[in-house]
C-alpha cells in the first residue's frame, strides 16, 4: 500500500496576496505536521507567484509546489478539481487542507469522491489524538447549535475544509528555509464540463466586513432601508461598516453580499453591535468570534442578549440617534 505522508495545503492567492484563510491553514497545518512528525507542504496555483511561494515558506511550509495556471476566480472549478486530484495522486499527502471558501466548497467534496476518501467541511478545530494518532475533526452542526467531533480510521488522505477565522493566522518568520518546486499536472480537456462565462464582483464601498474593526449589524427589526441609513451613520462615526442578517437580504433592503453568518461572511471585529437581531445560531456562526458584542433589541427575552457583553432593551429608533450623538461627543474629546 502506498505510504501517505505530509500535510498538503491548497493555498489561495487573491489579488497578489496570500489569502488570510491560507495563513490560517498554515498555522493549523504546522501544528498537525508537528504532532504527526510529517512535513507541511503547500500547493499554489497561479502565474508569477514565486514571491508568494517564499512567503508561504516564511509562514511555515517546508515545501511549496507551484502549478502554473489561472487564479481561482477566473477559471472553471472543474480545472482545479482535476489539478488538485492529480497533485494528490502524485504527492500522497495524509491530510489535505482547504478553506471553506468559494473554491474550497467546490473542490473538497469532489476531491474526496475521486480519491475514495472522506471530506469534513467547515471544521473549526483540528487536533491529532495523542494516543490513536487519529485526526479529530470538530465542526459545527445543526446551524451551530452543536459541535460534532469526527474521525476516520481508514481513509487517506483526509480532506478538510476549515471555516475562516477559526484559528489565528501564521506569523511570518523570514529565517525559515524551505523548498520551492514547480509542478505540473496533466488535465484532460474532457474533465472540464461546460464553461465559466463570467465572474462578477459586486464591489462594496468602504471597509470590507472581514477587515472591519467595528461592525454595526442590522436585522429584521430594522424594518426597511431608512433604518439602515441610521446604522450607516453610526458606523461612520465609529470608523466601521454595516452588516446584515439574512432577513434584510431576503426583504431586498440590503445586498446579499453583506450577509453575516453560516452561509454568509465570517467576521471578527473588535466591536459588533447587533441591532434588531434576534440572535439565531446561523447568524451567530458568523460573528461569535467578535471581541465585544453589543445587542440592541426591544424584546428583553431575545436570544441575542445571551450572546452579548452589553445589552440595551429598547427601540433602535430611539437608541441609535442617541448613541450616535454621544459617541460623537465622546470621540471629539
Amino acid at each position: 500500500m502506498a505510504e501517505y505522508n505530509g500535510i498538503l495545503i491548497c493555498g489561495e492567492v487573491v489579488d497578489g496576496k496570500i489569502a488570510a484563510i491560507t495563513r490560517e491553514l498554515l498555522s493549523v497545518g504546522r501544528k498537525l505536521g508537528n504532532s504527526l512528525g510529517q512535513p507541511l507542504k503547500a500547493l499554489l496555483i497561479g502565474k508569477n507567484i514565486e514571491e508568494e511561494a517564499k512567503e508561504v515558506i516564511a509562514l511555515g511550509a517546508d515545501k511549496v509546489y507551484i502549478i502554473d495556471g489561472p487564479t481561482f476566480a477566473n477559471s472553471h472549478p472543474d480545472l482545479y478539481v482535476a489539478m488538485i486530484t492529480g497533485a494528490c495522486d502524485q504527492l500522497l499527502p495524509s491530510i489535505v487542507l482547504l478553506g471553506q471558501t468559494d473554491i474550497g466548497r467546490d473542490i473538497a467534496p469532489r476531491l474526496a469522491a475521486r480519491l475514495k476518501t472522506t471530506a469534513a467541511m467547515d471544521c473549526v478545530d483540528l487536533v491529532i489524538d495523542s494516543e490513536s494518532k487519529l485526526l479529530l475533526q470538530t465542526r459545527p452542526v445543526y446551524g451551530g447549535n452543536a459541535l460534532a467531533v469526527w474521525a476516520s480510521e481508514s481513509c487517506q488522505p483526509q480532506i478538510i475544509t476549515m471555516r475562516p477565522r477559526s484559528v489565528a493566522p501564521a506569523e511570518p518568520d523570514t529565517s525559515r528555509k524551505g523548498q520551492i518546486e514547480s509542478f505540473t499536472v496533466e488535465v484532460k480537456d474532457s474533465s472540464i464540463k461546460g464553461k465559466l462565462v463570467e465572474t462578477v464582483k459586486e464591489e462594496v464601498a468602504g471597509i470590507k466586513l472581514e477587515d472591519a474593526k467595528v461592525i454595526i449589524s442590522g436585522g429584521g427589526g430594522i424594518g426597511g432601508t431608512e433604518g439602515f441609513e441610521m446604522l450607516q451613520e453610526l458606523a461612520h462615526v465609529l470608523g466601521g461598516t454595516v452588516g446584515v442578517t439574512r432577513v434584510p437580504c431576503d426583504e431586498g433592503w440590503m445586498p446579499m453580499t453583506l450577509e453575516i453568518g453560516q452561509t454568509g461572511r465570517i467576521v471578527g471585529p473588535d466591536l459588533y453591535i447587533a441591532v434588531g437581531i434576534s440572535g439565531a445560531v446561523q447568524h451567530m456562526a458568523g460573528c461569535s468570534g467578535s471581541k465585544h458584542i453589543v445587542a440592541i433589541n426591544k424584546d428583553p427575552d431575545a436570544h441575542i442578549f445571551k450572546e452579548a457583553d452589553f445589552g440595551l432593551v429598547g427601540d433602535y429608533k430611539q437608541a441609535i440617534p442617541a448613541l450616535i450623538e454621544k459617541c460623537k461627543a465622546l470621540l471629539a474629546t
Binding site: A113, Y142, A148, V197, T199, D250, G311, L312, E325
Partner: protein, 266 residues
C-alpha cells in the same frame, strides 16, 4: 425538461436555541416535543427552482428522499408545491449511511429513473450542514456540476446557471444532464397550495428498497461509513450580558456609549 430533486427531512432549523437538546451518550439530537421535522429549507428552494424551470420549459419533476419512517412527508410537501412524482428510499441496510452512502443510494435511484436533464439538491442539509451529497452524486454520475445556484435557465448549449460567490456571482453554461445545488438566494419557496395538499395527502408514495434500486448493501449503512462520530455536544456560550438601563431608551443609549468608552472599546 425532466428534473429530479433530492429532498431530505430535517429537524426544524428555526427552533429556538433553548429547545435544542442533544443526548451526548447516544450522540444524537433529541427531537423537541411538538416541533415536527420539516423539509430541508434549501431542498424546498430546489423544488421551487424546479417548478420555475418546469413552468418555462414543461417536463416532469420527480422528488427523491432517503429516510426512515415518516420521510414520505417531505415528498408529499414537494408534491403539494407542484412536483409530479416522488419516491422514498428506505431499507434497514441504509441506516447509519454517511454522505457517501446517501449519495450512492440517491445515485442508484436516479439511474433507475433514468430519463432526466437535471438533478437538483440543496446546498447543504440543515442538520449536519455537510454540503457534500450533491457534489458526490455529480461525481457518481460523471455529470457536470454547479454548486450554490441562485438561478438557472435552459439555453441552447445546455443549462445556464448563476452561482453565488462571497463577493458576487459567476455564470456557468454546462451540458445536461447536470447536477446543481441550490442556495437560499433562489428566494422563498412557494407554499403548498390547498389543492396540492389535498391531492398529495391522497397519494401513496412508493418505497424503494435496496434491491429495487440495485444498491450493494456493502456500500451503505453504518459499517460502510468512511468516518465515525466520536462526540456531539452543545458548546458553552461564554458571554455574560451587562444590561444598560436608563429612564428613557435615549438615556440608556448615552450610558452605553460611556461604558464602551470607559472600557476602551470605542
Amino acid at each position: 425538461m425532466n428534473i429530479i430533486v433530492c429532498v431530505k427531512q430535517v429537524l426544524d432549523p428555526d427552533i429556538p436555541p433553548a429547545k435544542f437538546k442533544v443526548n451526548s451518550e447516544a450522540k444524537q439530537v433529541v427531537p423537541p416535543e411538538g416541533i415536527p421535522p420539516v423539509i430541508n429549507p434549501y431542498d424546498a428552494q430546489a423544488v421551487e427552482l424546479a417548478l420555475r424551470l418546469k413552468e418555462r420549459n414543461g417536463g416532469k419533476i420527480t422528488v427523491l428522499t432517503a429516510g426512515g419512517d415518516g420521510a414520505e412527508k417531505v415528498v408529499k410537501h414537494a408534491i403539494s408545491m407542484g412536483a409530479d412524482d416522488g419516491f422514498v428510499l428506505n431499507d434497514a441496510a441504509f441506516e447509519g449511511s454517511d454522505s457517501f452512502g446517501a449519495a450512492y443510494i440517491l445515485t442508484k435511484a436516479i439511474q433507475k429513473i433514468g430519463e432526466y436533464d437535471l438533478v437538483l439538491c440543496g446546498r447543504q442539509a440543515a442538520d449536519w450542514d455537510e454540503g457534500l451529497v450533491g457534489s458526490i452524486i455529480a461525481e457518481n454520475l460523471s455529470s457536470s456540476l454547479v454548486i450554490l445556484a441562485e438561478d438557472a435557465e435552459l439555453v441552447e448549449e445546455g443549462l445556464k446557471v448563476k452561482r453565488v460567490t462571497l463577493d458576487g456571482y459567476q455564470v456557468f453554461v454546462v451540458p445536461t444532464p447536470a447536477v446543481v445545488t441550490v442556495s437560499n438566494e433562489v428566494g422563498q419557496a412557494r407554499l403548498p397550495s390547498g389543492l396540492g395538499i389535498i391531492s398529495a395527502a391522497r397519494r401513496q408514495i412508493p418505497v424503494w428498497k435496496a434491491a429495487d434500486i440495485d444498491v450493494d448493501p456493502a456500500q451503505v449503512g453504518a459499517a460502510a461509513a468512511r468516518r465515525k462520530l466520536l462526540k456531539l455536544f452543545i458548546p458553552a456560550r461564554e458571554r455574560k450580558c451587562e444590561l444598560v438601563e436608563g429612564e428613557t431608551t435615549a438615556e440608556a443609549a448615552a450610558k452605553l456609549a460611556e461604558k464602551l468608552r470607559e472600557a476602551r472599546i470605542i
